[in-house]
Symmetry: C2
Subunit: 330 residues, 2 copies
């Protein structure tokens, strides 16, 4: 009997996604099915409904001793907003919240959890439309978020062309380093703050996604929740291309450099395989790079290649193949 | 420190619901906020988006030894469809699924779980728009479902008037008896089948909800997932009325009567406080009762009273006050 732990999350999802049912009667309404950052259905008029869901579970995504209830709520909302950001110009509208709570959870803890959800929702003018509260042994927060968009302002994963430039909205690897610091319960020094804050309280890049969609500058986009390597590979796979990441150009925080120097991992392990971070990774035609840099301050980190050239990273002139997707739960 | 286990789920939700944020910029779009069977926002044109979410967690809602993965998936979809049914004429469109799975779950189990979700979705032409798969110690399935409706074909909890007749689509108490049979691992006799099937594989009353909404026959509606007593009390509370349940007229299956006879509980305990069942409980003006009975075969089970008369049940001429809401997770 094959167990999920043997096949990896991505293997499992690959088995599952093509099988998911969509009724023939609604075929014309389906704009983007499962497999992108969010699903999209057309509605009345020229707007489409964009929907996504993401869950944080105790023991898998956080521990109560190092994630405050406010930060947990904030992050649960932020990671869903990040999925909408990765679809382009999507206006968030409403969220449904499922909280799974052990019976011995204090009312105070729950109040703070919802305060965190609300604080992040308010930043992006997102409302709460409903929810469900269940008793569970593990604490969990699940958010389903939907928003509205014009279909021609959506950006999918699969629109990149060879020659397009790969860009990113921020630096990579911080959240993974931050999680190590939190998990080990180390004395948190002041310089480490950006690392564990990146893990505890990520900020979704909605303004940048909005502009890239509205102006139709980006040809493909994804958020980096599964790490930079997985992000670039998923864009290349969906677009039927190869890709090169120029590691020397990927933004890295000084804090990460300092943390990696005393860690047993190389800084590039954090940068490529980190995950749990919510930057936008996107591609633009070469001629738009200057415009995009000026307007959203994103960095150039690589280039889309023809499919035959595959996916790899370059570091100091040396080629490193990008083999698998990186982040795994199972 | 007050724990959730001390205040009850309804107490907790009461604290929470009025606090949930909705942005001023979207105020005009909010048709029904949290607190009904589903939330509703207006969209472009004359359709509204109706959204709901419900989760089944191992240990709280089922045990793997007595709920097959197909039935678990089927039920997870059915309970959400039931929430749409309880809103009136809502056409289901798409679902987002979160599966929380222990690492030692077999691939075969997961395949069957999704097959069950799909089988129920197909019955009602509902598609899958996305999802999330997470590692968790407890198995859980969370579904968020949305559909489309015309706002004047929605039926809320709060529209009942004194003199309206309370009706229901089926019999009550079967699922609770079924859960007892399954939980105790008893030898399942043939006559018990409707009881444990009612628990394992409920069928949402979408056709009935659709007709009641489209024809605007019902003045208020709810599904009976928290039990008959809670359903009637919630309608009365939202409508600012009292209510009387005529227990002698509430449909009861022969199997339940047989089960209750050998149980330590009275049959009325099952009927009033059962829960985990998905009938529609609704109110209609007196003059429409015959029409509704002819078209959807629902039973008359009581009457809406003025608020001052409170909520009670009548059994053999004796009045029984309906005190609290009944079903609790915490």
């Amino acid at each position: 009997v094959r167990k999920l732990s043997q096949i990896g999350e991505f293997g499992y999802l690959k088995r599952l996604l093509p099988r998911l049912y969509w009724p023939a009667s609604l075929r014309k309404q389906l704009v983007i099915g499962p497999g992108d950052d969010a699903g999209v259905v057309s509605w009345k008029g020229d707007t489409v409904l964009v929907a996504t869901t993401d869950t944080l579970v105790e023991g898998t995504h956080f521990e109560r001793r190092w994630q405050s209830p406010e930060d947990l709520g904030y992050k649960a909302m932020a990671v869903n907003l990040s999925d909408l950001a990765a679809m382009g110009a999507v206006i968030p509208i409403g969220a449904l919240i499922t909280a799974g709570l052990p019976g011995d959870t204090s009312v105070n803890y729950v109040d703070k959890l919802y305060k965190g959800l609300e604080n992040c929702a308010k930043m992006w003018k997102t409302g709460f439309l409903g929810g469900d509260t269940i008793r569970s042994r593990q604490l969990l927060v699940s958010v389903t978020l939907f928003g509205a968009a014009r279909p021609n302002e959506l950006i999918r994963r699969g629109g990149a062309h060879p020659g397009d430039i790969i860009m990113a909205t921020g630096s990579f690897g911080n959240a993974r380093a931050g999680m190590e610091i939190l998990r080990k319960g180390l004395h948190k020094e002041r310089w480490e703050t950006p690392l564990f804050k990146a893990f505890q309280r990520p900020n979704p890049k909605l303004s940048q996604g909005m502009l890239l969609g509205r102006k139709r500058w980006a040809t493909s986009m994804i958020d980096s929740s599964d790490g930079l390597k997985a992000s670039v590979r998923l864009i290349a796979k969906a677009s039927g291309t190869g890709a090169r990441i120029d590691l020397d150009r990927v933004p890295v925080s000084r804090a990460l450099a300092r943390w990696a120097a005393k860690s047993r991992f190389s800084i590039w392990e954090y940068v490529l395989n980190g995950g749990e971070e919510y930057e936008l990774v996107f591609t633009v035609p070469k001629r738009l790079v200057g415009l995009v840099q000026k307007n959203i301050g994103a960095a150039v980190i690589g280039e889309i290649l023809p499919k035959a050239e595959g996916c790899w990273a370059v570091l100091g002139g040396k080629k490193i193949p990008l083999k698998d997707y990186g982040y795994r739960h199972f």
